[in-house]
């Protein structure tokens, strides 16, 4: 019975293209999450110790080959997912923790404060994300927290803008006026009446931002502003691998690159599907 229900639900999701994308994205994400959690069991070698001769092409024993120091590429790709997830998680949480309350409060108060903060946020927003992150990362230096911080700064305006515009419409809703009429204080109105109504759109922004954050992190590491080696990191491995690409050692760039593409793709598909599910207005338009 249950299995037939699941089949029916999946068929329903498969009915339109976004449903298919959502499921593919979900599977990709689950695969990467499992990879990150069980990395020590899945990786055949240690990612930070040489495990064979250097620059071995893919073969049995080293299915993705080895790099110039003899590290197993497969093991480094698996452990790299941990770094990608943790930096993305820390960065988006910092961005959300600042952007969401700021958007709520400023959007609710409105007026001059609103114009001022929105102006500041918009000027941050106009910077190309990666360049801003590079500038901040260059100031702060290497390390997981520093990288997360510099990525977070880039995404604060995204949260701020989404939340503020939602709050601006919701604050004129009758139930918010009703809350004022019963004598609720502004913090109570914000947390009990406004926040629950803006949260669904936040979740979508959150999952989209994680994908972006992973890309930015890889970009920073590629430029040498990221994690200090030899900690396994896709971006760093990519930049190291491109030194050997003229020697036809393709496996050094293809596999970490593929990992980045798949995880970002997974998050994008997932958030796209989530958006359709949580935001019924989009569905109607199609």
């Amino acid at each position: 019975m249950i299995s037939s229900k699941i089949v029916k639900n999946i068929k329903q999701l498969m009915g339109d293209s976004s449903g298919v994308l959502f499921i593919i994205g979900l599977f990709l994400l689950i695969a990467f999450i499992i990879m990150a959690i069980f990395a020590p069991y899945l990786a055949p070698y240690s990612p930070i110790k040489p495990s064979g001769a250097s620059l071995l092409p893919p073969q049995s024993g080293h299915i993705m080959g080895t790099d110039n120091l003899g590290y197993d590429v497969f093991s480094r790709v698996i452990f790299g997912s941990r770094m990608a997830f943790s930096i993305a998680a820390i960065a988006t949480s910092i961005a959300a923790a600042i952007g969401i309350p700021l958007g709520l409060i400023v959007g609710y108060i409105g007026g001059r404060l609103d114009s001022f903060v929105t102006m500041v946020m918009d000027s941050v927003y106009t910077f190309p994300g990666l360049i801003l992150a590079i500038a901040i990362a260059a100031m702060l230096g290497q390390g997981m927290i520093n990288i997360s911080l510099s990525i977070a700064v880039v995404y604060i305006p995204t949260y701020y803008r989404v939340i503020r515009s939602q709050v601006a419409t919701i604050k004129s809703e009758l139930y918010v006026e009703g809350a004022r009429a019963i004598g609720a204080k502004p913090p109570v109105i914000l947390s009990k009446y406004v926040l629950p109504n803006v949260l669904p759109s936040t979740i979508v922004v959150l999952s989209m931002n994680i994908a972006d954050a992973i890309m930015t992190e890889a970009g920073l590491s590629f430029l040498g502003l990221g994690i200090a080696p030899p900690t396994p990191d896709w971006g760093y491995d990519l930049s190291k691998g491109q030194q050997f690409i003229l020697q036809n050692d393709w496996w050094l760039v293809v596999f970490p690159g593929l990992a980045i593409i798949l995880i970002v793709l997974g998050f994008s598909m997932f958030s796209e599907g989530l958006n359709e599910y949580l935001n019924p207005n989009i569905g109607e338009k199609r």
């Binding site: 139930y175 006026e177 009703g178 009429a181 019963i182 004598g183 109570v188 009990k192």
Partner: protein
């Protein structure tokens, strides 16, 4: 039971909305252009009495309802509710005083938070004003649910607004309005969006609650028939001014102001043989940014004459307790 003590006294209430103009122009203008939504309203409501405020769209009824309880700040005027000078209250005091006066909005769908169960919605005023402990609060809510006919109360407590019908939602809103035991309730077109069968139930509920709590009630509506059903006294409003105010029976038997007569003509009477004088007003309600001089109704009034441009529309007592703003018809 109408008692002699006034619960609500409003004197010369004004609400002007400033219009946005280019800032350069603002230097050349002496008086900033504004919409006079409410322009010098005075009335009082006694304990256990319902005053109907009737007028067509754009007459400023809703603005009156919201400014009396300072949901929007009045430009000027005096408001006393329950012997408390509302206009002089500071933020925190005003917030605390809100348990004494409540409002029921027109749209029952939009006036409830979709993400809060209706039990919690009704309980929230008690939490805000720190009334009772947790268990007592829930008991009070359940008791009230039964009173407003949301039965079984326990079953309704955890439901969400979208699971209820329009009439049920309006009953929830009414329950929320009376849970803090207020002295005064504004009902802003509370029945306008309900269909006819549900409307009479909700009207009956409001009468029951008014009697039981001995409330002063301001019943804002565009529908004279509902006002007749629920109110003891009726005030007719046109473009920010009260044009006539009288006891219900007096007003219906001897309407004085031409505008009131026109509104009366719009009430359908279920008697096809009845012939009555039908006056159709000319044109539409004028823009409140560009008000006619003198009597504001003169542009549409069938009895308008030259002198109407000079009168100031102040209410005169034509008969005892019956005030009208038209000096020519008595």
């Amino acid at each position: 039971m109408v008692n002699d003590s006034n619960v609500v006294v409003v004197k010369n209430l004004k609400k002007y909305f400033l219009l946005k103009i280019p800032w350069l122009e603002s230097f050349s203008l002496k008086e900033k252009p504004s919409v006079k939504a409410v322009d010098g309203l005075s009335f009082s409501i006694k304990k256990g009495e319902a005053l109907g405020l009737v007028g067509e769209s754009g007459s400023g009824k809703t603005t009156v309802g919201r400014s009396i309880i300072r949901l929007i700040e009045p430009t000027n005027g005096e408001i006393v509710i329950n012997d408390e000078d509302i206009m002089s209250l500071k933020k925190e005091k005003l917030r605390k005083a809100r348990r004494n006066f409540q409002i029921i909005f027109q749209d029952p769908i939009a006036s409830l938070n979709p993400y809060m169960s209706i039990g919690k919605s009704v309980m929230h005023p008690l939490e805000i004003h720190d009334i009772g402990n947790r268990k007592q609060r829930k008991e009070m809510v359940l008791e009230l649910f039964e009173k407003v006919n949301l039965i079984p109360a326990e079953g309704f407590f955890n439901r969400y607004p979208k699971q209820l019908s329009g009439g049920q939602r309006q009953r929830v809103v009414i329950a929320r309005a009376i849970i803090t035991n207020p002295k005064f309730i504004v009902s802003d077109e509370a029945t306008a969006m309900l269909d006819v069968s549900v409307r009479s139930q909700v009207l009956k509920l409001m009468i029951k609650i008014k009697e039981e709590y001995n409330l002063a009630f301001l019943f804002i509506t565009h529908d004279l028939a509902s006002a007749k059903y629920i109110c003891e006294k009726i005030a007719v409003m046109y473009l920010g001014k009260i044009v006539e105010i009288a006891d219900k029976t007096e007003l219906f038997d001897h309407p004085l102001h031409p505008y009131t007569r026109i509104l009366m003509g719009a009430i359908p009477i279920p008697d096809p043989t009845l012939k009555r004088e039908k006056i159709i007003p000319a044109g539409e309600i004028p823009s409140p940014t560009n008000m006619p001089s003198g009597c504001r109704f003169r542009t549409r009034c069938p009895y308008a004459k030259k002198e109407c441009g000079d009168i100031d529309m102040s209410l005169m007592e034509i008969e005892k307790g019956h005030l009208s703003a038209c000096p020519f018809i008595r």
